[in-house]
Symmetry: C2
Subunit: 210 residues, 2 copies
Amino acid sequence: MESREISQAVISRLPRYFRYLGELRDKGIERVSSQELSDIMRVTASQIRQDLNNFGGFGQQGYGYNVEYLYEEIGKILGLNKEHNLIIVGAGHLGQALVNYMNFERRGFIFRGIFDSDEKIQGTQIRGITVRPMQEMESFVRENDIDIAVLTIPKTGAVQVAEQLVACGIKGFWNFAHVDLHVPDHIQVESVHLSDSLMKLSYNILSHGE
Amino acid sequence: MESREISQAVISRLPRYFRYLGELRDKGIERVSSQELSDIMRVTASQIRQDLNNFGGFGQQGYGYNVEYLYEEIGKILGLNKEHNLIIVGAGHLGQALVNYMNFERRGFIFRGIFDSDEKIQGTQIRGITVRPMQEMESFVRENDIDIAVLTIPKTGAVQVAEQLVACGIKGFWNFAHVDLHVPDHIQVESVHLSDSLMKLSYNILSHGE
């Protein structure tokens, strides 16, 4: 894999390529040109070629791309050929929804532990995983080689929990808390700000609709 | 409001300004300079000024920005001073999580109806709203002035449901289905691709970690 820095804009597009190639693969389609991909993905063929060129020349002049090969290569680039051990912090509705989301496990993202400060939820099971108290989180992370922590807790606790987890060797956060996390540079954070997303929709409806 | 097209990149940043200004407001802070905002938001003061200049000059030389005023103005730009009527399509874990997410209601996004094709869920209540069968969706949307449909259903049904709703006058989709929606240009779509987000995190851990 290229060692130079690929822009986050390109990285953001990779999962979408993966998704579309997966669908072509499911349909038994063996090859696809950048123009055909362009038509179904609604991005320019030129952007597709430029994006994929960041990772090596996958296509062949006159042939296009081999779907299976490209799908697997992008999967490897995205780290999907490895298993990831996840914990969920915050077993409310959103946390439960994520644990129950089948797609993640198929991609190698395995939920190993769930933690919550609410004693009424502790001890209950979500998809066979027992909800544990927060006091057990740090040792669990260390002992189970957890690399990703999913934060589905209110913002008031998120920053402190993140700090504790950074100290335990967590590699990345999938952050749903309504706050930005500031962690050391070598720790990755992917935030999903649901409120921001809905507000963006609201703006677009206001400014474009009717 | 300016009628020229503001870039989606700027629009994407607006909710974050709103969030930070809301926190300053909660702390009773009356004014803030672009440099101070820059320090807490970790974006350049120059970008802040440029972004906000798209919507009119909110700041005053030597004074900075009035927090309350800027907060309210950005809120208006985001369409938050209006109420929005939402339906949820798909009453599974994720749909339930969104209905239960308190923040949205405080911002004027009110869930009016919930729909699901699963007969076992129909008739049950989520936060006081009874889950209705899909057959009731179109008339409900027309009769209740629904502007936003939240799609938390599998991808297999999403495209068809979207088409039905476009025909009913829906203004925008908040789409959590694992598929891209292609709707007429005057209908807004904001997609939250959870799998894409997690894959981006996986890539960043692989390429930056250790």
